[in-house]
Assembly symmetry: D2
Homo-oligomer: 405 residues x 4
């Protein structure tokens, strides 16, 4: 640790000690934080208007793992990588898992793709055509198998199903079709596998989306079974919706399965988590802290972003740093003072308890933590200095860079 | 029926006959349509910035019933009136019920008020203070009793509970408190009484609202019991939310209990239903039609509006007309053609089946219907011509006009 | 005209005559209505998640004109076609214009593309790199020349410029760069050419968009000169924004240059105009009617939609029908009654004047009009019956269908 | 200064010195920061559903000044108080100004009220009735006079004018009426007086608002003259609108006149500034910093909040602290590094320059500043400890507490 950092860390520690914070306990929690990065976050992405290719983008799942390993190396808390099928389809999944292990990684959630094939024009598991539903269900079953092969225990499902015009299809019949398909899949999942069901307000469907909010996802999970849980993507809500409230509701229902972290100002913008409203991110972690202490709770923390104009590996590293800082600040909340202020109906004091934690500068703490974990005090700078991107940009000049498709 | 109307009605009938519509069946459904008007819709209302008093506003519940009787007289489908306690508190509820009967009306849903007393500054059934929760629960129990006295079988509950600042209170603890209070009330309801639970995105709470969307209301109802059902107010959603989809979801869950009709462009604007997006209103009725045919389904159709700048009785009459026209158009939908277009994945044709019904001019049909029911072909004009408002404006000059409070 | 249509038309005429409407004058306005369809609306389109190819999609600008000619043939009011450069780049623009003329069409607005090239990752005319701005300006100048060659007098410019992250660039400096580039282009436009400047809330930029609302576009036009005018795309506003109000403001400023018609429920959904909120479309035309009567006013009415899942030519035809019906209803508004109700502060009556026109079933009128113009009473059915799509689907099997890019 | 604070301040200073920050210059700017508090923020307020009275609320303008003096005493940067006419109407305005001076205060912006009288049901300066417009204009002229008497040089005007229903009135005619009235007022303002024109998306008008966005306010100011400027209220925008961008646009047009600070999650929630999205507040100050250095620029920084459930004076103090911290963080931005990152198109680095400033814990700096200015290191705690509220609650038990009306 450099002298300046050490000094800042020590000053931070003193301040927190005065506040009565057990810094050791905070650091233990921080060390245990885990964030899964998505294989597709390392490939090219864009909007419907353009995809701007970047240098050094991986050409296959193995190279995506190499990039993910960089993020883990510099941050220390990202040992797993989510896969997307078919974008990450390989001949031999064991080989891929072994390669991940050789990089210090493991394979995480398996993400099926039910939105890209021509057959899915009118939906996948909700499609009026039973043959298309069969195809969709078979793809999900394939993903269950792949999960088994790579020892992943999470099927993470986003359905693009919906309609574009009033009258186009029956809301209720589509719901019934979805339930039938997912029930078959759920029934074939091994007992230690969990199904995470994601909802989204709109896009690509523009009139109605079959799983449009947490209520639609939750009621579907209720019908499927205990290992069906809801996945919250921070960019999938209507404007104004209080996401931390939804998080608490799903926790209270015992149905919060995981997160897709990102940020947005408008719609599903898929920006770097914490770049638009870092206070909201902090408030979400405040809800999670107590719940995490319950032994039964297991939540998958995953990033799902599209780095369209900024360098992808650096953006992923910054995202992880933002998650570390938000978590660290949430750990500084004086919970006893919070309880007391709430009990006495002291609105302003309760609010200030949160502000007090949020206003802290936790960068020295997080930097120290990352060094403890073998990562970097300033991971973006360290990654830039490493020359990795220049090297792979050279190595990967030939061939077709990975993207969505 | 005037000649011009008769001619228009007959032309309409011919056109529909060519489309294969059974006009008799349509008229039977239309005759059975019922809309409950709210006692508070006849009193003065406004925004936080101003309440503009109107001439002739009723001074007590009896006079509100007189006004409601006018709406029923001219439209023929509004025989019941929702009460708000304490705004409609009287010494003798039997007397009020008898007076309603004398006007050809009956008393409908009982609406408790848990937002106006000073004690509710931090919430009612979710308040951190158990004494306040006790008070709130007692008020609900009082309303159950009043409902019994006036032979109403519906308790219609909107909770303003929420917080204004991050950290102010615990989402989960508040939820637990609400469940406890409502369980007590539910347990005391007679077996034929139903609890309708309303949700709302925001206002008066500006950070989180305890029942903020259909999911929060539904999961609470699931915990309470079968006679707890969700009430949809058309102005209580985030922008962009597909309300007809929510209606279908609640129907599919067997938990749609009723509506508060109104319209909005921005937030809970409480405008005349159908005045901003009449197509949405039509689409909602399209969802309801089939469900209504199920014998178990019973939905309370209620108006909840604030006529701040327009004359209240006329505005209520126009609202009912808009509901009649939306329902009539929905009844014209060629359901068989719709099913066929959906089955074959013909997006445009399915959409056009709805447009085809929506584009019809159903005013002659509705006018004829109203006349059949003893109402008026042009109810707003007939009401204006009746001189009622001028008469009551004179009669009610003294005393304090009713309002919110 | 078929007997049933004739009967319906006559009944409509009688009803309107009773209302005091001069049907001849209405029909004259309707006959003069013009809608420009976009060449890119006939090519494949989609979302960032998928493009679902359709059979028979044109492979080049000439075939797009063939499809556009179908829309004109069946509706009678779409004689011009907007071009997009480079998607419609050809060797010889005179040849393209001649081909259009041979189909009874002419070439309309020229739409530059400043969003697709790799160089535009950080913007085009706002890019921090002067070389990129030069490139963008040169492309605009090229489009001015093309417009000259095809005798188009409209340059229709949408800028995707914006940023994705706070801090990424200087709002003010970007504005200065835009002004400099556009001033050069404006200065090179022939005196009878007009620049239409389009604004959009977001997408593809997710933090800020340089021309994000009508105010940003208008103030830029004020700086450029009198022939710089604002283009309103119905899907480019924040939720809740009153578009008809903006239309009236731009008319009052003398700066409304044109429309991109479409509809949306969420963001820039590019759905069929009138499919989500037909009442809003009617209200927009109500604003336009009086303004159109001013001899100095010239507004370009253009469609800009993406028919991702529905057949493109049919969808375009339905869009034009919806525009005809909205215009027809607006023409039925009793303006004198409206003025009188407004003057006397009779809110409900003024509102009902609009409802009265909107509730009319104008389909017989529009069908008759289309027949007068050589089109079809039921254009979608007539197009389907014509076998055109099947024929071109066969003819265009080889080669690469046109799309965005 | 207490030892712990001194230590924290010194540690902060060292860290900033390492970053190359000239702390003296930062403190000079911070010392010059001024925030005007609103007289009405000390009176009772609420929503349309309830106003919850608080103990100790002032009963007249003199007592409001006493409360405002408390905020200034503890924060050091709030020497002026905005008045609202007629809520602050007094016999002798010189006396009120003298009383303010005796408390170390001065009277600030004069805020007319054109929304509360019965006559304004259909608008004030846009009302179709010329007599109402005359009344409204006369009230504005009265406020110009009052401003003269109290030596205020700012007329701060919010117009509630708008309509609730499509068709209710003519957008364009209303605009003309507003221009006529405001022109008369502008013409009567002394040469050193400025008119600040506020816009708002909606509420109390629910269909259209005459000044609904910055474009409507700006174009009106352009017509009025150079001393007509736009006032930005942070809660008056549609969801998603980028407020810092608007701030920069108005600065670039030379028309940013002032702020009404507050925060919102949904609509015009009027919460404590910085309580929902503190990062946005920081970004707004980033835009302001450079502009403030321009000698011609003068911006009024005012708070406009409604403390419905939290104690009003404490809430005002916390608001000022949040503004101090946001400003302080903005002053820490490494502008040279920002320029360099932007110049080279380094998106991530430019963004990180802002994050780097925002992440700092500026509380020791602000605490020290406040002490320098004679205020309190922890102003909320100091105010609580002072016993002021208990004292005035006792003194002000009799009489009618001030509120909106």
């Amino acid at each position: 640790m450099e002298a300046a950092l050490r000094q800042a860390y020590e000053a931070f520690g003193e301040t927190q000690a005065e506040r009565g914070v057990d810094l050791g306990a905070v650091e233990e929690r921080l060390r245990a934080q885990r964030v899964e990065t998505p294989s597709w976050g390392y490939g090219n992405s864009g909007t419907r208007f353009a995809v701007f290719p970047q240098p050094g983008v991986p050409r296959n799942p193995f190279e995506k793992l190499q990039d993910a390993a960089q993020v883990h190396a510099h941050t220390g808390i990202c040992p797993s990588v989510a896969l997307h099928i078919p974008w990450d389809r390989v001949e031999d999944y064991r080989e891929l898992a072994d390669y991940a292990a050789s990089l210090g990684l493991r394979l995480g959630a398996i993400n099926p793709n039910l939105f890209q094939d021509e057959e899915y024009r009118l939906g996948s598991v909700c499609n009026p055509d039973p043959a298309v539903r069969r195809r969709a269900t078979d793809h999900l079953l394939e993903c269950v198998e792949i999960a088994g092969e790579v020892k992943s225990r999470v099927l993470s499902l986003w359905l693009a199903d919906g309609t574009n015009y009033p009258g186009q299809d029956s809301f209720v019949e589509r719901r019934g079709r979805m339930l039938e398909c997912l029930s078959e899949v759920y029934g074939r999942m091994p007992e230690d596998m969990r199904l995470l069901l994601e909802y989204k307000l709109f896009e690509p469907a523009f009139y109605h989306t079959d799983l449009c909010d947490w209520g639609t996802a939750l009621t579907m999970c209720q019908k499927l079974g205990e290992r069906a849980l809801v996945l919250v993507d921070l960019g999938h809500h209507a404007q104004g919706v209080n996401v931390e409230h939804i998080v608490s509701l799903l926790l209270d229902e015992g149905r919060l399965g995981g997160f897709h972290f990102n940020n947005r100002k408008y719609a599903d913008d898929d920006l770097i988590v914490g770049s638009v409203n870092p206070f909201e991110l902090f408030l979400i972690y405040v809800e999670l802290l107590e719940a995490e202490e319950n032994p039964g709770v297991r939540i998958e923390y995953m990033i799902d972003q599209a780095h369209n104009i900024e360098p992808k590996i650096e953006a992923m590293i910054l995202s992880v740093m933002n998650l570390q800082e938000a978590y660290a600040k949430a750990l500084l909340v004086d919970r006893e003072a919070l309880r007391e202020a709430r009990r006495s109906g002291d609105v302003l004091s309760a609010h200030r308890v949160l502000l007090d934690a949020y206003s802290a500068d936790v960068r020295p703490l997080c930097a120290k933590l990352r060094e403890d974990l073998g990562g970097s005090a300033d991971p973006v700078a360290a990654f830039r200095a490493s020359g990795y991107l220049e090297r792979v940009a050279e190595e990967r000049r030939e061939g077709r860079p990975a993207g969505w498709g």
